[in-house]
């Protein structure tokens, strides 16, 4: 067990927020502070002895109204590596079907005195609502198409470790921008750190007012990828589409799937990312997903580190924190 004193982040300024509900509202120094903390967490995670005691005796509840193996296990591992008692609650199967509202669930959980609540919900704003009703710190693990802040942070960490910086890089985000919380959080974060952000999608998968969201908009993938440093692919979220946004998967792959030919328009040292889970052959050629330019597996590792950083940063706001 590593003691508190040798890992206390002296040079990192304290995180000023009680919750992490989104990237919106964070200052660049808040973001950089979390990334610096995450670098330390990467080191901790690569040691044989991975546990810290900063959350020892604390209770973390992962409250997932929407199933997610990847994000939930990442938060679980992050909490455990910091010494927290972690409980997973999958709500979709039980209470909601019995007519319990989000607020009822919040009140029930609040009575259990958790210190940290990690929440994923299918509705935008649900995590904000919950944060107003509970007494503990809340982390947004994805609320509908709104935000997914830890994903954007882990993407930034991954990029920074490979490119040494974020500023002035050209990042192309491709796919279902309209329904993507990953896209929104990344657009805000990358702009805050000075990157040039492009989005590439058919017009039916772009949200209204996209041209005012701080991005360059492309409908042609080759043009959009030209000289890009980072290619960030999004999952085509078919389950979210209640209308016909694209005619067929094969037409989508033809124009917006990432294959070798299209990737050739990006810089030679361009790196490819995907938040997962991937639809191989729908938005990305499997050979690229598993190829040398892909950072997809590393993103998963960075995910645990970033979540450790976030939990640790919020721990400073818990009562009786030393």
């Amino acid at each position: 067990m590593i003691s508190m004193s040798d890992t206390a982040p002296h040079r990192i300024s304290p995180f000023p927020h009680r919750h992490l509900l989104g990237i919106e509202g964070l200052q660049p120094q808040d973001i950089l502070g979390l990334l610096d903390r995450a670098e330390e967490a990467v080191e901790v995670s690569r040691q044989v002895e991975k546990r810290k005691s900063v959350l020892s005796g604390r209770t973390q509840i992962n409250l997932f109204f929407e199933a997610s193996t990847r994000t939930q296990s990442s938060f679980e591992l992050a909490g455990k590596r910091l010494g927290a008692d972690v409980m997973n609650m999958a709500v979709s199967q039980s209470s909601v079907k019995k007519g319990e509202t989000l607020i009822d669930t919040a009140a029930t959980l609040n009575a259990m005195h958790p210190d940290l609540l990690v929440v994923r919900h299918h509705a935008a704003g649900a995590v904000h609502l919950l944060a107003r009703k509970v007494g503990c710190s809340v982390v947004n693990a994805g609320d509908g198409p709104h935000e997914h802040p830890t994903q954007a942070l882990l993407d930034a960490l991954t990029i920074r470790r490979h490119k040494g910086k974020i500023a002035r890089l050209t990042v192309a985000i491709c796919g279902d921008i309209a329904h993507s919380r990953v896209a929104r959080s990344n657009i805000i974060l990358l702009n805050a750190l000075g990157a040039r952000v492009r989005v590439i999608a058919p017009s039916t998968l772009l949200p209204g007012g996209i041209d005012k969201m701080g991005v360059e908009v492309f409908r042609d993938m080759r043009e959009g990828l030209r000289d890009a440093d980072i290619v960030m692919m999004l999952r085509l979220q078919r389950e979210r589409m209640n209308g016909a946004f694209i005619p067929s998967v094969r037409e989508y792959y033809r124009y917006y799937g990432l294959d070798q030919e299209k990737l050739g328009y990006a810089r030679d040292d361009a790196l490819v990312m995907h938040p997962g889970p991937m639809n191989r052959g729908v938005e990305i050629d499997p050979a690229i997903a598993d190829g040398p330019q892909s950072l997809i597996r590393e993103q998963v590792e960075m995910g645990v580190a970033v979540r450790m950083a976030v939990l640790e940063a919020l721990a400073a706001h818990l009562p009786n924190h030393h």
Binding site: E24, T101, L102, I103, H121, A123, A124, G125, A126, H128, L129, D143, G144, P145, H146, E147, R181, R184, P207, G208, G209, I210, K212, M213
Partner: protein
């Protein structure tokens, strides 16, 4: 309503405003036998009726009680949200002396017996006048027409499909045509249901929030369709809640073509915009959605130039069970009876509209459109009168809300202008003391 005749009442030393007569002058209001004997400067020189209570208004405004033609009440079916009694208490406190109830209750008011039920319950429990609006189509399904003639005979003052549009243009055309034979007013919610699938105003704001948008065109297309159908059918039509500058343009053009049309706007769309939603505050979720500031300003201009005739509260009580949800899952609606006048006075204090026109939109305009004997202080009119101080400051505290539901977008808001006394048929039903 009480059957005993109230004592005569004189409201003296008032600034008397009667928009129907374009009157705004110092004077008195003399009331006896539940009707107006005289109101205005001439009344100040008349003696008081024998035994009258004389109230010194100390320069406050005396004007006709407000007529609110779009009020949802939970009775029957959702009395935990609002009853006719609680709605009428809220109305009286807000200076509203006549409410028209929306038919979206459980059961839906699409049968003459149900119109009769509302009227009887109102007679027994309400302190303000209550006039039911009946459903335009059976079950509000937008398919088959209701018994316009029988419903009107039972006491329905107009016909509406509630907060849902009639999707089928042929059905709407027949409704307008048939209703014309009974000189019945058709009040319509103008939102194309297919385009209006979202949960807030479409645009940048919705995009950042990750919410699906209701484009302005959903409203514009429906109103333009309706006005063409009114032209075909020569029907009598009121667009209940418009919210965009283009809708106002369409109404303006329709009036110029000589159509028998009027337009209404909710107080929310005159005084708030989509930025007020903030962090997903569901008390600001309504239909049509709150638009941007340009559209809000366009609503004020359209009111000032007479394109918009009527202001309503669109009072819609919702409780924790229906509102305390993530935005997309929460119900539409906001209460508004108690704040209608105070919020409207913001436009007057902001010098965006003159007081007589502002009050006309909440008194004589809705009364005359609905054919109600209300909304004026002319001699012989029912004595529905309010006294308010246009400058008195106050803050809306949740605990002071009379409505059974507390979903006010104006919680903790500051207002200038407060109702001091509300008189219905000559009887004081609210007195701030």
């Amino acid at each position: 309503m009480a059957v005993d005749t109230p004592k005569p009442l004189v409201l003296s030393n008032a600034r008397v405003i009667d928009p129907a007569r374009k009157l705004d002058a110092p004077g008195s209001v003399i009331i006896a036998d539940g009707t107006i004997l005289a109101a205005g400067p001439e009344a100040a020189n008349q003696g008081s009726p024998y035994g009258a209570d004389i109230i010194d208004c100390a320069g406050a405004i005396a004007c006709p009680g407000l007529v609110d033609m779009c009020v949802s009440v939970g009775e029957p079916g959702a009395e935990h949200r609002e009853t006719l009694a609680s709605a009428s208490d809220a109305a009286a406190a807000g200076g509203v002396t006549t409410i028209c109830t929306m038919p979206e209750t459980d059961p839906i008011i699409d049968d003459p017996a149900l119109v009769d039920f509302i009227l009887r319950r109102a007679r027994d429990t309400a302190t303000v006048h209550v006039h039911p609006l009946a459903a335009l189509t059976k079950g509000l399904r937008g398919e088959e027409m209701t018994e316009i003639g029988l419903l009107k005979e039972a006491g329905a003052v107009a016909f509406t499909n509630g907060h849902k549009s009639v999707r089928n243009a042929q059905v709407m055309r027949r409704m307008l045509t048939y209703a014309r034979d009974f000189d019945a007013l058709v009040i319509h919610h103008t939102e194309d249901p297919d385009l209006a699938g979202g949960v807030m105003n479409a645009g940048l704001n919705a995009s950042w929030k990750g919410l699906s948008g209701v484009p302005r065109e959903a409203e514009i297309i429906m109103i333009e369709r309706d006005l063409r159908l009114v032209g075909m059918s020569k029907g009598k039509y009121h667009a209940n809640l418009i919210s965009t500058s283009d809708s106002a343009d369409a109404v303006r053009a329709g009036k110029k073509r000589g159509l028998d049309i009027t337009a209404g706007v909710s107080i929310n769309h005159l005084t708030t915009n989509e930025n007020d939603i903030g962090p997903y505050r569901t008390f600001f979720k309504m239909s049509p959605p709150l638009r941007d500031e340009d559209d809000r300003q366009a609503m004020i201009s359209a009111l000032a130039d007479g394109t918009i005739d009527i202001i309503v509260s669109n009072h819609d009580p919702q409780d924790v069970e229906t509102k305390r949800h993530p935005w997309a899952e929460a119900e539409d609606g906001a209460i508004g009876l108690e704040t209608l006048l105070a919020a409207a006075l913001r436009l007057y204090h902001g010098e965006q509209i003159d007081l007589v026109r502002l009050l006309a939109a909440m008194t004589c305009n809705p009364a005359s459109r609905l054919g109600l004997d209300a909304g004026t202080l002319a001699s012989g009119a029912p004595a529905d009168v309010i006294v308010f101080d246009p400058d008195r400051p106050w803050i809306l505290e949740k605990s002071a809300i009379k409505s059974r539901s507390k979903n006010s977008p104006f919680e903790d808001a500051r207002f200038s202008g407060r109702v001091l006394r509300t008189v219905v048929a000559g009887k004081t039903v609210f007195d701030r003391g």
